[in-house]
């Protein structure tokens, strides 16, 4: 069956596809972990914590006890 070259993706061509990564290379790439994701998550949680402290000490405490 003839192959229509114009309808094929570049993934079909060995010239455009890298060789599969070895497990060693994957381990190497993940060795330092997702630093950026950790940083964003830390900033988000830190802001949440600061917000909780601000609400507690600047809003809740001055309003006084109800008991």
């Amino acid at each position: 069956m003839p192959v229509d070259e114009s309808n094929q993706s570049t993934a079909h061509s060995p010239d455009h596809v890298d060789v599969p990564a070895s497990s060693d290379q994957a381990v190497q790439a993940l060795r330092n972990g997702p630093i950026g994701a950790y940083l964003v998550a830390s900033i988000a949680v830190g802001l949440l914590f600061l917000g909780w402290l601000a609400f507690y000490f600047l809003l809740f405490m001055p309003r006084g006890s109800i008991g």
Binding site: S42, V45, F49, W52, L53, Y56, F60, M61, R63, G64, S65, I66, G67
Partner: protein, 165 residues
């Protein structure tokens, strides 16, 4: 590790301020017969509204019922200890005072007691914030915080309303 430390800090703050500053939900538990509120006891009509105690503090007694608070508006002095005592004649209602920490459920058969002190004069809305039926959205009352000199000796009309004589 950091998350655990943050949780510990938050819990320590809540526990310490709860113990040292009485910063905890109202824990008053009193039972009352909701079927005879209007006949006898503390919540008869003549005893509702604002009352000045011998020590100068103020007690406000309110009944919540579908779909209103009785009385609908109460006056209290600014900068004075105010104790709200509420109960319900029918279903569960809610009681909330903006700009204060007052936020409680009003359950039939029980007396809800909360204390606060208003720092600023003005009129505060007291909405029912516990869904109590089809008219829940219209269940509002008000507390008017007035200067202490204007609150020296409330008349019987002023006790159960915000009109002045």
């Amino acid at each position: 590790m950091i998350m655990a430390a943050m949780l510990l800090v938050m819990m320590a703050i809540v526990v310490l301020t709860g113990i040292m500053g009485a910063m905890h939900p109202s824990s008053n538990v009193e039972v009352i017969d909701p079927t005879s509120l209007h006949l006898q006891g503390e919540f008869v009509e003549s005893n509702l509204g604002t009352a000045v105690e011998p020590d100068g503090s103020v007690t406000v007694r309110i009944i919540a019922e579908q779909y209103e608070f009785v009385p609908h508006c109460v006056q209290v002095p600014v900068g004075t200890a105010v104790k709200f005592r509420l109960t319900s004649a029918d279903v569960v209602h809610g009681f909330l005072l903006p700009d204060t920490n007052v936020n409680t459920m009003v359950v039939p058969g029980f007396v809800a007691e909360v204390r606060t002190r208003f720092a600023k004069e003005g009129e505060y809305a007291m909405p029912c914030h516990e869904f109590c039926g089809l008219g829940h959205h219209a269940m509002w009352a008000h507390v008017r915080v007035v200067p202490q000199e204007r609150f020296a000796n409330p008349t019987s009309v002023e006790r159960i309303g915000c009109a002045t004589q």
